[in-house]
């Protein structure tokens, strides 16, 4: 950690720059919004022109697949014309700034994930939750404690018991540093009273490969990351962070049923820029209702092993603010932010 002073200097400088950048963005957006409003005095039924889904990750991967399915079904079920625009980068900040620089008219819809709150809490995303109207959480996936079939651990208690006696001995890892999966492990550590290191990986697929290749002893990962191996029994899930057993994984026990109060999921959903008028938001919600009611969507969710939280704006926003608070605490305690 000898670079911490450098990092701190970088952060203050960075924060100032970010403030300047976001101020500029807001100013531009304000002007743009004002022109857009004055240009359309009488609004007809939304949408009057093609809508852009701004996906804040690159092509390929779970978020992009969700965004593209949503686009397909919005065209099919709601009769919209939809364009998918991948804006990867900056842990989501690039996608968010893309939304921030467009008018708040609902024609640019951000497709984002629960890493939003981690990004904000870590100071990586220079925006606030209030810069968005969070419209709907449509998918969610839990984390799980996974080991290989030949591992001696058969339950969460086996794992926790071993870790208590041999602190830091096992190689435990998962996707990203200071993200959702590490947060879940951190909560398990607190409840189980053990110490564990964390081996971060820069892509979720690499976690599965590391587990299969025995470069990790245990992983915290979304079950669908190693779907083939979970199905075939090659990977055993000791605990899943859902409240009840998932219908997709009836054989995988939850943490809750083993006496650990550990629940959490990473959501995927849509948001628009703050200030988007209520009638436009209502039109978007109606269109989303049509999508979620369709058979195509239900089949897609099942095939993808996705839970459907279907939180609308109020509940979604409440949940996100709660996540942000809890995660900020974790990041401070774990030393990721001062």
């Amino acid at each position: 950690m000898q670079s911490s002073t450098n990092a701190a200097m970088g952060r203050t400088f960075g924060a100032r720059m970010r403030r300047a950048v976001s101020a500029a963005c807001l100013a531009v957006a304000g002007v743009a919004a004002a022109t857009a409003m004055s240009a359309s005095p009488a609004r007809a039924e939304f949408p009057e022109k093609p809508v852009t889904l701004v996906v804040w990750s690159g092509a390929g991967g779970a978020l992009d697949t969700y965004g593209r399915k949503l686009a397909e079904l919005l065209e099919k079920d709601a009769g919209w014309t939809v364009k998918v625009d991948n804006r990867p980068g900056g842990s989501g900040a690039v996608g968010m700034s893309q939304i921030a620089t467009q008018p708040a008219d609902g024609y640019n819809i951000l497709v984002l994930t629960g890493t939003l709150t981690f990004g904000i809490a870590q100071g990586l995303i220079p925006f606030k939750v209030d810069d968005l109207r969070l419209l709907r959480a449509m998918q969610s996936e839990p984390s799980s404690l996974a080991v290989l079939a030949d591992s001696p651990f058969k339950s969460v208690d086996d794992f926790v018991g071993y870790m208590k006696e041999h602190p830091n001995e096992l190689r435990v890892g998962g996707h990203s540093s200071g993200g959702f999966h590490q947060y879940m492990l951190y909560q398990l550590m607190k409840q189980g009273g053990f110490e564990s290191g964390w081996v971060p990986h820069d892509a979720s697929g690499k976690v599965t490969l590391a587990l299969l290749g025995k470069h990790l002893d245990a992983a915290m990962m979304t079950p669908s990351t190693g779907l083939s191996q979970v199905k075939s029994g090659e990977i055993r899930l000791l605990g899943v962070t859902t409240e009840e057993r998932s219908p997709f994984l009836p054989d995988a026990p939850t943490f809750a049923e083993q006496g650990y109060d550990l629940t959490g999921a990473i959501w995927r959903g849509i948001a628009v820029k703050a200030g988007t008028p209520d009638d436009v938001v209502a039109s978007i919600q109606t269109a989303i209702d049509k999508v979620t009611a369709s058979e195509d969507w239900k089949t897609f969710q099942e095939q993808q092993f996705q839970d459907s939280p279907d939180w609308a704006e109020e509940e979604f926003t409440k949940q996100v603010k709660k996540d942000l608070e809890e995660q900020s605490e974790f990041l401070k305690a774990a030393g990721f932010v001062q």
Binding site: A59, P88, G173
Partner: protein, 499 residues
Amino acid sequence: MDGIAQSLGIIFSLGGLGVLFIGALLGIVVGALPGLGPSIGLSLLIPFTYSMSPELSMLLMISLYVSAEYGGSISAILLSTPGTAAAAATAIDGYAMSQKGRANEAISISLTASTIGGILGGLALLLLAMPLAALALSFGPAGYFAVGLFGLTSVAALSGGSLIKGLLCAALGLALATVGIDPIAGTPRFTFGHFELYEGVPFLAALIGLFAVSEAFALAEKHARGQGMDKSGVGHVFMSLGLWRETWRSMLSGSVIGTLLGILPGVGGNIACWVARDYARARSKGSEAFGAGAPNGVAAPEAANNATVGGALVPMLALGVPGSPTTAIMMGALIMHGLHPGPQLFAEQPALVYAILLGVILAAVVQYIVGSIFLPVLARTVLLPDGVIAAGILCFAVLGAYAIRNLMFDVWLTMGFGVLGYMMKKFSFPVAPVILAMVLGYLIESNYRTALVSSRGDYTVFVTDPISVLFLLLSLASILVPIWRAWGPRGRTARRVSA
């Protein structure tokens, strides 16, 4: 065996052959344009594949993927602007050949080598998918670190006249690779508050800037001074027997290297092309001027970058885990059709799996046919005046830079790299080591640190992991062998020629 028969039925239907040819044509074009690589090509295709059967959509995507890996070399050879990252190694000897009036030969070598690489990579996927997947799993962080280090030893071969200059440029590349979010601590480094830099300096911006933009400046300057380069058209794409005899070994070694590195997630064609070139150079007896237009300097990297396609599909098909951004997009397309790639797909959808496996091989053949028809036409671009070419390169460079992430930030960065590359050319600093070090820097650093986190700070992990030991020894050999040769009796002549 029903699966094979069924899949052949699909491939040799009108629709099957149709999508293979369309994919090859599109692939060559997106490959040849700097910045538009296979990933962007595939993501543009996705919406069109919704209404196709899964088999046809996979054939289309594979054909585009294979040909895009090849297409990158056309612009690399003719204009010194590699269309894809994996064609960067080809630009060195390929462009040197075309400046000597041997463009026709260079193009024919690259098309033939790419086809052979594609076929051999496809055969490896067809026959050895499971053992290759097991091999990929045996690479831990220590192993990846050693592979990266091994790749870095080829800097010496890219240094041109002065090893010091080569090392300086490599150091610059490694320094650039440290920009971005720290892979272990998760905090941003050297980003100066620009969130555009969290994922690091975009590698494509450096590639397009250092190779393409700088070459456009140099061409414009030459044009202004009236020093045109030798123009040579491309008449046909068939290799002479002499060239075959000269390059077939490099094609084979390149294919093997490409397949093996292709199976490793995060390694792939961007690194395989350099390793294959370096291997071919080390094997040549010093009689050939690598860097000044050696046919083997085109054959080896071209075979390697196409062979990585077969390799990259190994983790996706055998394990259900995508090994590269491009295969992640293909996997996304399969998921859209309600299918999950993985070992169980062999039992559930044999026709689809065999269509993919055989598709790789056939796509390479189709690429050869499409290439041999269109290349003589495409290659006419070099006959244009230098000023026009320079303007054209700049246009496509800006387009490609913007296409990376749809950010103007990347365009300015690319222009900055262009100016840097132009100045480096003026002072005869080689640009290739910067690119190589940027590709490898992140791989080496993140895996070095992951290995140490996993071992809780125990450095012996690098000598107890057999794969790590193997590649560390290879690295040592690739540093020591040239030194030993330089001290040997033939040393002085060899040194002068390879410079």
